[in-house]
Amino acid sequence: MTGDRKTRNKRGIKPARGKTTEKAFIGLCLAAVVLPLVLLVILIADVVIDSAGRLSLDFLLSYPSRKAEEAGILPGLVGSVYLIVLTAIMALPVGVGAAVYLEEYGRKGWLANLIELNISNLAGVPSIIYGLLGLEVFVRTIGFGRSILAGACTMALLILPIVIMASREALRTVPNSLREGAYALGATHWQVTRQVVLPMAFPGILTGSILAISRAIGEAAPLIVVGALAYIAFLPDSIDSPFTVLPIQIFNWVSRPQEEFLKNAAAGSVVLLLTLLILNSVAIYLRSRLQKRRTW
C-alpha cells in the first residue's frame, strides 16, 4: 500500500519512472499472451503437417488395421460421440440439479461449506482415480462390464464436479433483487427458480457444461482403466458394446514402433481437435442465440 502511494506521489515529479514500470508490465503481460499462442500454433501446425497425406475421408471411415496406411479412426470417432452423448445425458441433469439445490434450496451453513469444499476438491482429483472407481463400481460391482455404459458413467462422475461448480457460479450471478422481485409478486420458490433464475443463469450453465464435456472428450486414462479397447474392428451397437475413443486410438498409434503410425496419430489428433472445435462452436452459437433472444 505504502509503496503504491510512493509511486503515485512521485509520478508528479518524475513521470518517467512510473511509465517505465508500466511499460515493462504491459510488455510482460503481452508476452504472457503471445508465448502460449505461438507454442499452440507451432503445435497445431506440426500435427497438421505430420498428418498430411493421411487425413482423408477414407481415414475417417476406416477401421484400425495392422497396415498404417489402411488404418482409420471410425470406431474411435463413433465411440467418442456415443460416449459423450451418454455422459452428457447423465452428468448434465444431475449436475445442474445439484447446483440448483445447493444454491437455491439448501440451507447455508457448515454442512453446505463442507460440501462445497469437497466438490471443488473432487474437481481436482486425477482422472485415473475416477477410472479406478469406475472399474470397481460400474464394471465389477454393478456389472456393466467393459461397456460404453460403464465408460460413460465413469466420465459422468469425472465431469460432475465441474458441471456443479460452473452451474453454481452461473446461478450466483443472478442478482438477488430479481428473486425478491418475483417473490414480491406472489411467486413460489419453484416458480422463481424455474422462470426467473434458471433462464438468466442458462448461458453460464451452458458454457460450463461445454467446458466439462470438452474435458471428457480428451480423456484417455480413466477409460483405459475401465477397459476401453485399443483395437476394435466394429462399431458399438448398444450401450453394452465394448468401445474405444479417439484419445485411446491416438495413444495406441503413438506407442507403435513403426514410423508410419505416427502419421495416423497426428491425423487422429486433428480429428480430435476438430471435434472439440465443432462442439465449442455449437455451444457458442447456442449461447449467443439465447442472448440475442434476451435483447430482442
Binding site: 440451507r107 447455508k108 442478482p175 433483487s177 430479481l178 425478491e180 422481485g181 418475483a182 417473490y183 414480491a184 409478486l185 406472489g186 411467486a187 413460489t188 416458480q191 422463481v192 422462470q195 426467473v196 433462464p199 438468466m200 434476451r294 435483447t295 430482442w296
Partner: protein, 277 residues
C-alpha cells in the same frame, strides 16, 4: 425547511385532512401490534405499534439504518426470507394476522405488492412479459386477456404512452425511471390491495422522481400505499400520514401536515429540521 415542507404538503385536489385526523374516512388496513424484528442476534425493530389506513399514503421516514425497510418488508413477509431474520408481534391485514399458520405468504404477497429501491425488471423478459410476470409466474393466462391487462397496468403506471409501440422489447432497455414504473405496473397487474414502496425514487433523477410521485397521488385512490423514503420533502409531498422511525423505534406517527409543521417530539423536530440524519 419547515415552511417549505408545509407548502408542499397538500396539493390542491386533496382534502385538507391536516386539521383533524381523518380516521373515519380510511378504515384500518394494517394494524401493527408490538412488532419486533431481528437479523440474527441484532434487533432492528423494537415493538412497533402502527395503524395504516386504507386508501391513504403512509410515509415512513427516518435516518439510514433505522429499520424503515425492515418494517415494510415485514408487511408482506419478505423480511423472513433473509437467512437468520425473524420477527415477533402481530400484523393484522383486514383483521387477519398475516403471521398465522393459515396464511400462505405466497398468497399474502399477491395482495400486498412491492416496489423496490433499485428497479429490478426481469432481464430475460420483454416489457409485456414483465408486466404479466406476476400472472404468468403464478397461474395460466389467456392470451387475449394478456393484452388488456398489459395496457391497463401500463396506463395506471403512466408508462403506456412511452412504451406502447415496443412492448416486445426487453424491459432492461428502458431508462431507470421507466424501469421503475414498469416495476410498478408489474406489481399492479397482480391486482393487490396494498402497494409497498421501498425508497422507489432513490435511484432516479428529479424528473423521473416527480413522475413517480404524481403516480402515487393517483394510485392512492385505489390502493393503500406505504412508502419508505429518506427524502423528507418527498414524504411531505406524497403522503397523508407520516411515521418517523429512529433506531428501530417509532418516534412519532401522525398526519403528515402536523408532523412536519408542529412535531410533538424533540427528536422528530431535530430530524426534519436537518440537525442530524
Amino acid at each position: 425547511m419547515l415552511v417549505n415542507a408545509s407548502e408542499n404538503t397538500v396539493p390542491a385536489d386533496q382534502p385538507a385532512d391536516g386539521a383533524t385526523p381523518d380516521l373515519q374516512a380510511g378504515s384500518k388496513k394494517f394494524d401493527v401490534e408490538n412488532l419486533s424484528a431481528w437479523f440474527g442476534e441484532k434487533k432492528v425493530l423494537h415493538g412497533i405499534d402502527m395503524q395504516i389506513q386504507e386508501n391513504r399514503v403512509t410515509a415512513i421516514i427516518g435516518p439510514s439504518g433505522c429499520g424503515k425497510s425492515t418494517f415494510i418488508r415485514c408487511l408482506n413477509r419478505m423480511h423472513e426470507m433473509v437467512p437468520g431474520a425473524r420477527n415477533e408481534g402481530r400484523i393484522l391485514l383486514d383483521g387477519q394476522d398475516i403471521f398465522s399458520e393459515s396464511v400462505d405468504p405466497v398468497l399474502l404477497r399477491r395482495r400486498v405488492g412491492m416496489v423496490f429501491q433499485k428497479p429490478n425488471p426481469f432481464v430475460t423478459m420483454s416489457i409485456r412479459d414483465n408486466v404479466l410476470a406476476g400472472l404468468k409466474l403464478t397461474r395460466s393466462l389467456k392470451r387475449e386477456m394478456g393484452d388488456e391487462i398489459v395496457e391497463r397496468a401500463l396506463r395506471r403506471a403512466a408508462l403506456w404512452d412511452e412504451v406502447s409501440d415496443r412492448l416486445r422489447e426487453p424491459g432492461a432497455g428502458l431508462s431507470g425511471g421507466q424501469q421503475q414504473r414498469l416495476c410498478i405496473a408489474r406489481a399492479l397487474a397482480v391486482e393487490p390491495d396494498v402497494l409497498l414502496m421501498d425508497e422507489p425514487c432513490s435511484a432516479l433523477d428529479p424528473i423521473a422522481t416527480a413522475k413517480i410521485e404524481d403516480l402515487v397521488h393517483v394510485l392512492r385512490e385505489d390502493y393503500t400505499i406505504v412508502i419508505v423514503t429518506h427524502n423528507m420533502q418527498q414524504a411531505a409531498r406524497v403522503s397523508d400520514r407520516t411515521a418517523f422511525l429512529m433506531l428501530g423505534e417509532l418516534v412519532e406517527f401522525g398526519d403528515t401536515n402536523e408532523l412536519f409543521t408542529s412535531p410533538r417530539e424533540k427528536r422528530t423536530e431535530d430530524y426534519i429540521t436537518g440537525k442530524f440524519g
